[in-house]
């Protein structure tokens, strides 16, 4: 089956010649009209639209956006905050970057509709420190919106006021985790909080109810307010509604970002047809489907997946439709949409050593299993790559990883264990044989760490 055509909802204007990030351009393309209509509706109706839409968060966990909003404690009498997660720190993910740099008003419109729907009077955009231009672009866009009475006091002449500020991070991955992000926004080290009791919806920023949503999620909210929840839910596939931006990197002919209806394209269609297949003379070997923390898939492995009609079918990696549920059924996750492709030039021990160095660097250090485990996984895989590999190292790595997941404060514990667990499980022979096979220095592509 040929690949479907892209359906660009969020990225409609990304890379469009002549499209600029200023308010005038956004307005020429119908900008803020949806917000005007939304502000004429009761907030509860908008929350209902989002519930009906089936929207699932695009930051990584795929949690229902409507449900998240429903869980907000509205009886506490405390202010409700919105925090936009623009940390985009999961390796392999690069979609929010383009929204922020090229279409910042789309995000602001989605955020302001969300604020209105949830009676938020103060919102922050937490943007990673490595986007200095992005932060300036957002600040300028917010200033324009404020001057046009779209942000700030008595928005659009109503009695409703809501302000929005940009807050820059400073290079730590864990600030992407929502409670770490909240601590960081409070001016502290980004140590994630334990849940319960610190669910952001109840005890978030300044111990007040807080909604944390990803940049792309909030852009979808704008389109849901525009189309209506039911119409939006017809895009994509059941329980995996809307469009999804797939960020493809690594060993393909045409890496980049591609927006399709969620679940209407398979891995094979995306990598072969849309991305042009492997590099000349190469074969695909492995793919990480949802950001570096997702479990790796090995080309050639088979999955028994339950179909919508209840029957089971055997699918290969290429046959997997790219939606949350199928990828979860295949033992991995759709996560943040970052798809990292590795071809047969890559040695999996070396690729894992690269990822392990990342996680060891980024563990916040609060929980012993994560702090020590991520460091040991890095040390063991680095030793292997540096000439000290032993046949039992794969087993040793797996033992360390198995003792992290499920025993930590935040999901980083799983995030750092899953690569090791899946690499060793699926490429065990490469780990066992590394010492014998690797006499020469590591492959060109992933050298020493």
């Amino acid at each position: 089956m040929p690949a479907p055509v892209q359906r660009r909802l969020i990225f409609a204007h990304i890379d469009e010649p002549g499209y600029t990030p200023d308010l005038a351009c956004y307005r020429r393309h119908g900008g803020y009209e949806v917000m005007k209509r939304a502000f004429a509706r009761p907030p509860a109706e908008l929350i209902d639209e989002v519930k009906k839409s089936g929207l699932r968060g695009r930051g990584g966990a795929g949690f229902s956006c409507g449900l998240k909003w429903t869980l907000v404690d509205r009886k506490s009498g405390k202010p409700i905050y919105l925090v936009v997660n623009a940390d985009e720190s999961e390796p392999g993910t690069f979609k929010d970057r383009y929204i922020i740099h090229q279409d910042p008003h789309q995000l602001i419109e989605g955020a302001m509709i969300t604020c209105w729907a949830n009676n938020v009077q103060q919102a922050y955009i937490y943007i990673r420190g490595e986007f200095p231009h992005g932060a300036r672009i957002l600040e300028k866009a917010i200033a324009e919106a404020r001057a046009a009475n779209l942000v700030g006091k008595n928005i659009l002449g109503t009695a409703y006021s809501c302000d929005l500020f940009v807050h820059r991070g400073a290079g730590a991955y864990i600030c992407g985790e929502e409670t770490g992000l909240i601590e960081s926004l409070e001016g502290k080290r980004p140590y994630p909080r334990i849940k319960p009791p610190y669910f952001p919806a109840v005890l978030g920023l300044y111990q007040c109810p807080t909604i944390v949503n990803n940049v792309e999620t909030l852009c979808h909210v704008k389109h849901i307010a525009d189309l209506g929840g039911d119409a939006y839910a017809r895009i994509g596939t059941p329980n995996n509604t809307g469009t999804r931006i797939y960020c493809v990197s690594g060993h393909v002919q045409r890496p980049g970002y591609y927006e399709f209806e969620c679940g209407k394209i398979t891995m094979g269609q995306l990598l072969h047809e849309v991305c042009g297949g492997p590099l000349p003379g190469r074969k695909f070997k492995a793919v990480i489907p949802g950001g570096s923390s997702a479990k790796v898939l090995r080309f050639g492995e088979k999955f028994n997946i339950k179909q919508k009609d209840g029957s089971m079918s055997e699918l290969g990696v290429e046959d997997l439709p790219l939606d949350f549920d199928t990828l979860a059924a295949a033992g991995t996750m759709g996560g943040s949409g970052g798809i990292i492709v590795m071809d047969d030039s890559v040695n999996m021990v070396e690729a894992l050593a690269n990822l392990n160095a990342f996680y060891a660097h980024e563990s916040c250090g609060q929980c012993t299993p994560c702090r020590e485990g991520s460091l040991w996984m890095k040390k063991i895989s680095a030793r292997m790559v540096h000439g000290g590999a032993r046949p039992q190292d794969g087993e040793l790595l797996k033992n360390v990883a198995d003792q992290i997941a499920g025993r930590t404060i935040c999901a980083f514990g799983e995030a750092c264990a899953w690569p090791t667990q899946s690499f060793v499980q699926k490429f065990g022979d490469e780990f066992a044989g590394y010492s014998a096979a690797k006499k020469e220095p590591p492959a060109e592509s992933v050298p020493l760490i």
């Binding site: 001016g187 990197s249 570096s292």
Partner: protein
């Protein structure tokens, strides 16, 4: 502390963004680092006093967040992405090329104080790897030829600034 008047104005303005002053810690650290080049002991105490905190509350941020530094760096700051997608497309070789062209030790500053080169983790531009940030600017698809060109531009700019 000898902060520029514009920095002081920005500091006073940004504190108003938050109901709790402590939230302005990261913004103040960014502003002071942009003004002074790094975060000195004196800066830590100044920011703490400004936000009615103890110096340790600021010091613990400087030691945690990778982007803050306690020592001056080279005039130009080169940050090469180290993470998987960039590594798969040659990021390590690109980093080595910069080091070689600019006579810069790994993770350090060149003897003339002109450049600091460091590896950083994923810069969220994995589809156009290898990527490199030079000061605030992102450079994409940096192969070895492009790394050499960029190094030469940096050297040329240094020469115009300090004629021999």
């Amino acid at each position: 502390m000898n902060l520029k008047p514009a920095t002081l104005r920005q500091i006073d303005e940004v504190i108003t963004h938050y109901p709790v002053k402590r939230s302005a810690a990261l913004p103040l650290l960014h502003l002071v680092q942009e003004d002074q080049g790094y975060i000195s002991r004196e800066a830590i105490e100044w920011i703490a006093a400004k936000l009615e905190l103890q110096p340790i509350n600021i010091y613990e941020l400087v030691t945690f967040y990778p982007m803050f530094r306690q020592h001056p760096i080279g005039r130009r700051h080169i940050r090469v992405c180290r993470t998987l997608s960039c590594a798969l497309t040659g990021g390590y070789h690109v980093c080595a090329r910069f080091q070689q062209e600019l006579s810069c030790p790994p993770g350090g500053t060149s003897a003339d104080g002109e450049v600091t080169i460091e590896f950083v983790e994923c810069l969220a531009s994995c589809g156009t790897g290898p990527v490199v940030m030079i000061d605030d600017d992102l450079h994409e698809k940096v192969d070895l030829t492009k790394a050499t060109q960029l190094s030469q531009q940096i050297k040329a700019a240094a020469k115009t600034r300090n004629p021999p």
